[in-house]
Symmetry: C2
Subunit: 317 residues, 2 copies
């Protein structure tokens, strides 16, 4: 009986701690998730409160688990490790072997040393092009851990506020590039001269979306800042309605991102899209149009990545 | 004595009525400005109040003049003629002869008919690229009126929130293109993830500005949305300070605009920059770097344009 109980013991708290949200998982030693909690104490939101705010937010979310199971290890990823996070886990520079992310991990505090680790983000310097990520590297780790059938050369696309295109070669993140696609979309919708011509909608209008994509594919060299204004003018001069114009904006932004990245993708590569279903489906649509067949995993890539890194780091004994 | 007084009589009120500001000029029949008034009743700001708000704003600024000189003609340009302005003056489509702008003018109201005109804006449809302007066409008219030595092929650059590049051929506005350069700069500064790394400054740092321009000139195909995020990353990974990063952002945005427009400029063309001194100087700097020698008139192009159109329209008797 005792053995049975021990085998059922949780062994890890994994926390995906982003800018706006925290997701905490109580994990069994097999890697399965036993419980899940969430809070709005995102790293950006509580940054002003300093270390104490992070400690409080951590306790609030996990103390129940820690009291019940006193010896849980803890692994964290995301903005919690930024300069304004709980404690800074300095960036590792690309290329970085996915299995070695944990080598850049830091403990949130002295008292948590050896039982809690914040995973580092990745940085890149290519000529004068700089780039950073925090959290996505752990998701990529999760993808490679669980999708063992992937080609050794693959591209992982992580759409969102700051969309990442991550080039993986033989288990290494070789390079990546970030597009402010989601943020620019949001800025246009909320703060720009276009805002009164746009409308936030949950539905998907593939015809208008595809029209926006074709705008992104013009042979003529057109700058984004000109194409955004052209959408405004189209709204003024034609019968296009706000919902359509919003879809066209989405298609334009995603289309430009994809158009710029396609030349970097080799014919034999697998392409994996990791993100919320609604936005991932838009990228899938746009990539299929260009002859690609992206994979869309349904598991939680961050959880899988944290679990993998906790194992590599020896956190699970 | 009477003749002398008559000759000194003002004959026109010219109003440059933009989104955020109104500038009114009392003009002598020789075309010189006798008095100047300004208000914050921009068309966007008072649009909610409808026609009455425009009538009130107009009276407030001009009634003193009208009472003293009862038979003044009135000419207006800018957003006052938009759909949400005083009265809509529908766009004329390019190509349009500069001398014929007034043919699309409308009276603000029935009672003001034949003594007051709102000049129209210009629209363009080129393939699926749409564009509009309101007010800049009148500035271009003023430029051509006063700078009679210009080549018959010239490009007028009007930097600002929405920068315009206007191609003029033999007295016609053949086409134009708008870049949301100023607005994107402002959105980044005030609302984006970059906002804490940037700072609004009146000074000019040519070294950092030029660095931003070189980022815009990369041979590698880089999307604006990626380059904006790269600036953020550079701010995180290097010792660059907010003032420098802000200059680099300015250089990047202006540089991309110029880089896209340069192929459209013929070797024999004159290039004229019309805008506020601080921003005009940045465009001058960036264009000189590319071997161009832009002209920078110091007169008020809008006033000159309105005067010219009032003459053409027969408003001055």
């Amino acid at each position: 009986v005792k053995n049975f109980i021990l085998a059922d013991q949780p062994s890890l708290i994994a926390m995906d701690w982003g800018s706006t949200k925290v997701r905490a998982y109580l994990m069994h030693q097999s890697g399965s998730v036993l419980e899940r909690k969430e809070s709005e104490d995102g790293a950006t939101r509580i940054a002003e409160g300093g270390v104490e705010a992070f400690e409080t937010a951590f306790s609030r979310l996990t103390s129940e688990w820690s009291l019940t199971y006193p010896n849980l290890a803890v692994i964290l990823c995301g903005m919690v490790g930024s300069r304004h996070g709980w404690r800074e886990a300095p960036y590792l520079y690309c290329p970085t072997a996915i299995s070695e992310l944990h080598k850049g991990a830091v403990a949130p505090s002295e008292t948590m040393k050896s039982k809690a680790w914040i995973l580092p983000g990745l940085a890149m310097l290519n000529g004068n092009t700089f780039d950073v990520m925090r959290g996505e590297e752990t998701q990529v780790c999760g993808i490679l851990t669980k999708m063992t059938e992937l080609n050794t050369a693959c591209t992982v696309v992580l759409p969102g506020t700051h969309s990442k295109w991550v080039r993986v070669r033989n288990g290494c993140i070789e390079s990546f590039r970030t597009y402010m696609t989601g943020e620019i979309f949001d800025l246009m919708l909320r703060h720009s001269v276009l805002r009164l011509q746009l409308v936030k909608s949950e539905s998907f209008d593939p015809v208008a979306f595809e029209k926006g994509i074709t705008y992104a594919e013009r042979k003529e060299r057109l700058e984004l800042s000109a194409q955004l204004f052209s959408l405004r003018a189209e709204g003024l001069l034609t019968q296009v309605v706000p919902n359509e114009l919003t879809e066209m904006l989405s298609g334009l932004l995603i289309g430009k991102e994809i158009h710029a990245e396609l030349p970097n993708i080799l014919p034999e590569e697998d392409v994996v899209i990791v993100g919320e279903e609604a936005v991932a489906k838009r990228y899938e649509f746009a990539l299929k149009r260009r002859g690609l067949h992206p994979l869309m995993p349904v598991f939680d890539a961050a959880v899988a990545g944290m679990w993998n890194q906790a194992c590599h780091a020896g956190l699970l004994g």
